[in-house]
């Protein structure tokens, strides 16, 4: 059973990095958060990266296999998709999704990006 204090700390650090203006914060989140073996940490990190809504952060959760919308955990993937659909300004996300559908080398990543793009067009 994980200590509540640790959960609170992780959440606050990830939220703080989501608010951080320095683009380097994306690297911190990607290096530590998206590579964690804990689903909840990956979920928090993916949400924070989407909320930043900058090309660097969106690329992490859209174009990388095993991260964000391509995560092995359905819960993490669904949570990332939900966060993308909740974005007020979807312009950048749609642009990256189109780029992924056209240029990504992995077929599964392309298929996922195509599906999310269709969903975002409908929402």
């Amino acid at each position: 059973m994980v200590d509540k204090k640790i959960v609170k700390n992780v959440k606050n650090i990830i939220d703080g990095l989501a608010m951080h203006q320095n683009p380097e914060s994306v690297n911190v989140l990607e290096d530590i958060g998206t590579n964690s073996k804990v689903d909840e940490i990956r979920e928090m990190t993916a949400k924070a990266l989407v909320q930043k809504n900058i090309p660097e952060s969106l690329r992490v959760v859209i174009t990388n296999k095993g991260k964000g919308i391509n995560d092995m955990s359905t819960g993490v993937a669904m949570c990332t998709i939900n966060e993308l659909l909740s974005l007020e300004d979807k312009t950048e996300a749609i642009r990256i999704l189109e780029d992924t559908v056209e240029n990504n080398s992995d077929e599964e990543v392309r298929d996922n990006a195509r599906s999310i793009k269709a969903l975002m067009a409908l929402s």
Partner: protein
């Protein structure tokens, strides 16, 4: 044989004179043959309607009226006793319940909780409340502090430490 039958029937009449009496003429009881299983009442307790009318017309007072009145008075006198008895039984019941409740309360006051799981559950609940209050006032890592940090090596280290602690707790 016929003589024997007649003797036995005579004897039965002597010892049980009412059984075979079908005195319809002497009685106005319409249920005489059915209600009393052959034992017909010899007294005419059912007053004929015509007779009653005649009596009322002649004397103005009827005997049956007196009987009814006395029966009614007797029953009214008995009601008081019944009510009193009822109230006494309710009071006794209430007193018994009160005694039981008081005894139970006294037992509870003198009983020490020795049920171990209950004690543990209470203890755990107390610890949880204590932890929640403690964490509420404990100065933890604030997201605003992290967002304002210029040097990102600090939040990187903090995140790494806490993520490792989380992963370690899961085993």
């Amino acid at each position: 044989m016929a003589d024997l039958l007649s003797i036995s029937s005579i004897r039965e009449r002597i010892f049980n004179p009412t059984k075979h009496e079908k005195s319809v003429a002497r009685s106005s009881n319409p249920f005489a043959q059915t209600s009393f299983k052959g034992n017909v009442l010899t007294a005419d307790v059912f007053v004929s309607e015509n007779k009653t009318k005649n009596e009322v017309q002649n004397n103005g007072i009827s005997f049956t009226g007196k009987l009814k009145a006395s029966a009614l008075v007797g029953s009214i006198a008995g009601i008081g006793d019944k009510i009193k008895a009822g109230i006494e039984s309710v009071a006794a019941f209430a007193n018994r319940i009160k005694d039981n409740v008081v005894n139970c309360w006294n037992k509870l006051n003198n009983t020490e909780i020795t049920f171990e799981p209950a004690k543990q559950a209470i203890s755990r609940a107390g610890e949880r409340v204590s932890d929640a209050i403690h964490s509420m006032f404990e100065p933890g890592i604030s997201k605003n502090q992290i967002a304002k940090m210029e040097d990102l090596s600090v939040p990187r280290q903090l995140l790494m430490d806490n993520v490792q602690a989380w992963e370690a707790s899961l085993g």
